[in-house]
Symmetry: C2
């Protein structure tokens, strides 16, 4: 059953390459994605390494990632879980996410401004 | 000798992953890059497939691509040549450009707005 807490997620066939690249093109968003490589996290724990973002900024980043198809956000009790849609991305754009993750720098120091 | 017509280009060591992803995240810029895969072009001929951009818009896109390290713009007589920095990108971010090019859609119809 769909509820108000279910957020829209694109099907892999509807992923847009440029939208995915844009979602990954921000240091804070890329850092959040790097933090999901080892498994899902509670949304409340998803922050870029090196600096806490204001809640509204974080929400905006997570929306950009979700709408591009990079992450899935699902209700989990009173929390939400965020997971990387690794298989969906790999199926649609083979090699892309791995190339980005391989190229991604170690987390930046906290004084690096987010774009 | 450096002249006023030489534009600045980053060294591969200074390429920023997020800047490259951002440069490739616009449909018009991605289409320009696709047009350079088979070899350099005169800048005057570099337009996204499907629609001519105003000169100022094109210049802005080419600057974004050049400053990210994606393309090199060199004087060539009265014209400028634009080439894809494929080897430099491959050396710095292995597999990334190929994954993007493999995933890139065929050129869009002319009624698709550029971002």
């Amino acid at each position: 059953m769909s509820t108000a807490r279910d957020l829209p997620h694109p099907e892999p066939a509807d992923f847009q390459l440029t939208q995915v690249l844009f979602a990954l093109s921000d240091p804070a968003r890329l850092s959040i994605v790097q933090g999901l490589v080892d498994g899902p996290q509670e949304v409340a724990a998803c922050q870029p390494v090196g600096g806490e973002l204001p809640k509204s900024t974080l929400s905006h980043h997570l929306k950009t990632l979700r709408e591009a198809g990079v992450v899935r956000s699902t209700p989990h009790g009173r929390q939400r879980h965020l997971e990387l849609r690794r298989a969906d991305l790999e199926g649609r754009f083979p090699g892309l996410l791995d190339a980005v993750l391989d190229a991604a720098p170690d987390p930046r120091p906290s004084d690096t401004p987010a774009r």
